[in-house]
Chain length 432, copies 2
């Protein structure tokens, strides 16, 4: 099927940057973009969709989340980190069933589709059927089964988590015409033995899989690692081989300048999670320095228990504002860089070369933002409107691989009422 | 007319704090709340409105904005402050006609109603017919004609701005059954002579009117004032009598501890504008210290040219997150305090004792947020959901003085299409 979107402003990708094409045409052949232009295409299309007044941009890519935690949204707000984690989150997580994980995933998929996210990188106890939920929803995801180990005598290859990780990889990597990618993951330096990190790095490399970690989120994590190993977490992970392949690291709040240079040398992608870092009191990552020094930086929401949503518009908005304020420099981080973090850089993190931008030949992962709203009027500057003025609810169309998944409040692949009902039931069961 | 809202969760006000009443009843008689309870009222109501699944809270009060600037939304994004102001904003402001001011005001009213704001404090060149627009929209506002003077020989009482200020006061103060309040205003220390401040303070006091100023927004403003007068801006304003009556001060980013003590002693209300302060690179006000020391703090968006919207949900969200992150303390500013800033404290700033909270006898300034959304599910904690997870588009009802002004996307007092058309025309005319 060939579908033509006409009349919208298009944030197309040319020469490594966004350009805004006014009142343009975007043609889709099956799952790929086959035309972008200011003039109508010569070829015929089966269907033409009038998108006047809309802004088209690439589907957003959430670089770091924990989908299952959406069931825990709002739990333990404003508590100190240790109380939040140990007294409220962990005890409830211990009670999560496989069914809860599926419900949490589906609740997250609803929210992501309605807010323009087409692809995400998850770190949670992802059994196979959450991958099936992603496929059924029509979305894309990099999934993993995060590894932890506190016992140096534990054999990394025979432990339950590694077995689950390998089974997830074997069964689901590449599923859905590549919509599912399975990566490896070490939860964090402070939850893992050297032996386990080495084994995970080796297994990931054997398969050409990515490596998803938490890195330097808190000052305590950074300092404790230095005290324990004489190395920063980044140096420790590097020494153990975790950065040898495609690797990406959430948070990176407390990186030293040397850590940044190391990440750049190893092409590790830091994932900025400003909202979670603020809410938990972790601090503010020096993203302007990362960008200045040439690192590829992605953007993520973290889990809904520390955010408390999966709204990439808020994350972009915050990333665009925060660094200007704390560095007392309104030029600290240009909005074009922020939009790259939420799109093309996320695709790089995920090892996907066929998405993240609107260009001919790329997969048709496209969202439409309705600019006919009071808070987006007058439309002087589309990029500024998108990054500073828009809200997630301005998204009126979400499409992945050329398939419309969400349009004007309607979910075309997910049963909204069933999922919300199940999520409320699960919430009541989990939180007495 | 007596109207009963039933089935909603209600953020009522008891003993100086919010309490959440589940599935409650809120009765309205004319323009006032006459019942709040968990049980149905005994009295009969003319109309019952089912609000199941909604959260009722007081209409939000935007403590500081410049409504006319909404026409300049998106102009000069990411420029250094001086270039932004002198090269882009001021030249366009010079071209604003009276008609533009009305259009900018009406555009702002649309946005505020759709995002749950019922009352606002404006600082702009407000001629009378912008007051008429507020009245026609059914909203509430504290308006002023900000005074400036650079020439010590200028007679404060005969200059054009003072004449306009006095005329505005005489014609509009108290209009619409008190919905319009006219306050006095000095734009800022760096734009005014001592003579003008003394005169304005005297005129305000004579009338019992409030005083609206910009205070200690940037480091340069603070330092230049000290260099010039040997006083901080707060000390300078105080010396000249500006804090003798009801006074409120936008920004307060660079207050010293002594300034905070002075503001507390004079009952001056600081208005926190986190989004604008970040975007322009001004810095982060120490709001946790203000709250700890017992100041009444309000919340504002500033103008849409430095925000870039009038979305109080974003402002609450940011205030709730920002201080936790920069002070590395997740308990730095509890969300209940943030909601007070956007409601009851805003009412104090405006000198309105009959609004800002949901309680029997208060004006029925009420908004409803639809909690039946994926990103608000499961509904573990209504306050946390409201402050961390909700977006402005979740507002489905906005009511002031018992009159419904906005419901489910429809504006009942404003002509959305006419205003957006005029705003786009004005935008094209102003920005060649």
């Amino acid at each position: 099927m060939k579908r033509l979107l006409k009349g919208a402003d298009i944030l197309a990708w040319e020469k490594d940057d966004f350009v805004c094409l006014k009142n343009g045409y975007l043609g889709i052949d099956g799952d790929r973009i086959d035309y972008i232009g200011a003039e109508p295409p010569r070829e015929a299309y089966d269907e033409t969709k009038d998108m006047t007044g809309k802004l088209l941009l690439p589907g957003l890519i959430n670089g770091h989340t924990h989908t299952g935690m959406s069931l825990l949204r709002g739990l333990g707000s404003d508590l100190p980190l240790q109380n939040w984690l140990f007294d409220t989150i962990f005890p409830v997580e211990d009670r999560l069933t496989d069914e809860d994980l599926r419900i949490g995933m589906e609740l997250s998929l609803l929210e992501m589709l309605a807010s323009g996210t087409t692809s995400f990188t998850d770190m949670y106890m992802s059994p196979g059927y959450t991958a099936q939920s992603v496929l059924d929803a029509g979305m894309k995801a990099n999934l993993c089964r995060p590894l932890q180990s506190f016992d140096p005598s534990e054999d990394p290859m025979t432990c339950r988590r590694m077995q689950e990780m390998l089974a997830l990889y074997d069964r689901w990597n590449g599923a859905g015409d590549g919509r599912i990618t399975v990566d490896f993951s070490i939860h964090a330096e402070y939850t893992c033995t050297e032996r386990m990190v080495r084994a995970a790095a080796e297994e990931a490399q054997k398969r050409g899989a990515g490596m998803h970690i938490h890195l330097s989120e808190t000052a305590a994590e950074q300092q404790n690692c230095i005290d324990k190993y004489g190395l920063t977490p980044a140096q420790w992970f590097d020494k153990l081989g975790a950065f040898s392949g495609r690797a990406y690291a959430a948070h990176c709040v407390w990186l030293t300048p040397e850590d940044r240079a190391l990440l750049k040398a190893r092409s590790v992608v830091p994932i900025h999670c400003p909202e979670s870092n603020l809410k938990l009191g972790s601090g503010v990552a020096d993203v302007p320095a990362m960008v200045r020094e040439g690192l590829t930086v992605a953007l993520g929401t973290d889990g809904a228990a520390s955010n408390n949503n999966l709204n990439m518009f808020e994350e972009m908005h915050l990333a665009a504002l925060l660094h200007k304020g704390v560095q007392h420099d309104p030029t600290a981080l240009p909005i074009g860089e922020v939009l790259k973090m939420a799109t093309v850089n996320g695709a790089k993190l995920q090892g996907r070369t066929d998405t993240g931008v609107l260009a001919v030949g790329k997969k048709a992962d496209v969202i439409a933002v309705d600019m006919d709203r009071p808070h987006l009027t007058p439309g002087i500057d589309p990029l500024s409107n998108l990054l500073y003025s828009a809200q997630a609810a301005d998204v009126v169309l979400t499409m992945a691989d050329g398939r419309i998944l969400y349009e004007n409040g309607e979910f075309l692949t997910l049963d909204r009422e069933r999922i919300l009902f199940e999520a409320r039931q699960a919430g009541r069961r989990l939180l007495p």
